[in-house]
């Protein structure tokens, strides 16, 4: 088991390239941008649905009074 522990020590010493952090950061930024766009689209769709709903109700109410 001692040898496996020695191997673990070597494993923990594996050098981390700087590029790793750059690449991970890039992916996170890309994902955040996509999320923001998605949220904006959803918000616009929701607003449109609500507005359409008001308009429909208004049309029904108007008919009632006519």
């Amino acid at each position: 088991m001692g040898r496996i522990m020695e191997m673990k020590e070597r494993y923990e010493k594996i050098a981390i390239p700087e590029e790793l952090h750059v690449r991970v950061q890039q992916e996170i930024m890309k994902s955040r941008r996509q999320q923001e766009e998605k949220n904006k689209t959803e918000e616009t769709e929701n607003t449109a649905q609500v507005t359409n709903g008001y308009e429909d109700n208004f049309a029904v109410d108007s008919k009632r009074f006519c």
Binding site: R3, I4, M5, E6, M7, K8, R10, Y11, E12, I14, I16, P17, E19, L20, H21, R23, V24, Q26, E27, I28, K30, S31, Q35
Partner: protein
């Protein structure tokens, strides 16, 4: 109630990002231990991060993030290894295996060579268990193997390593 669901998803998304940022070095080590190649390991981590962020909505709770992410990462490593094997599985690999049994090879990395000769799933179990200090339950969640299968594979793998290393020691003596 309907408003609560997107809020939870947003929290899980932020937790996932936090988990990735805090553990990226560990991901790289795992990926490197599988691929044994810097560029491949970087590709595996990047691809895993990308896929995890794209699929973040499938996370059920924060406790599941670790197992879920490692499963994606290991999958990416295996895809890269398969791809590379197709390209380079030739006499070079065979030569390496023969060299292992030759007299007087370097003692320092013999155990690594033995580990590399094991099946990929056994290698993975040993690496996650001993290098990443994961529990058998976590390993079972990551590999998708039954807990008892994980135990059996782990003990068989360790036994095999022990036998091969002893065998190698005899050669050196």
């Amino acid at each position: 109630m309907e408003r609560c669901v997107p809020a939870v998803k947003e929290i899980l998304y932020e937790r996932l990002i936090q988990f990735i940022l805090e553990n990226q070095d560990r991901f790289y080590r795992v990926a490197y231990s599988y691929t044994k190649h810097q560029e491949d390991a970087l590709d595996a981590v990047q691809s895993a991060v990308c896929k995890a962020l794209e699929a973040h909505k499938s996370i059920k709770n924060t406790d599941a993030i670790k197992t879920w992410f490692y499963r994606i990462l290991i999958n990416e490593c295996l895809i890269i290894i398969k791809k590379r094997r197709k390209e380079t599985f030739t006499a070079d690999m065979m030569e390496r295996e023969v060299m292992y049994f030759e007299k007087g090879y370097e003692q320092g990395d013999d155990i690594e060579k033995v580990l590399d000769m094991l099946d990929m799933d056994v290698q993975g179990i040993i690496k996650l268990g001993y290098f990443e200090d994961m529990s058998l339950k976590e390993i079972s969640g990551i590999t998708g193997l039954n807990l008892n299968t994980v135990k059996t594979k782990l003990y068989r793998g360790l036994k095999l390593i022990k036998e091969k290393v002893q065998e190698a020691d005899l050669w050196v003596e």
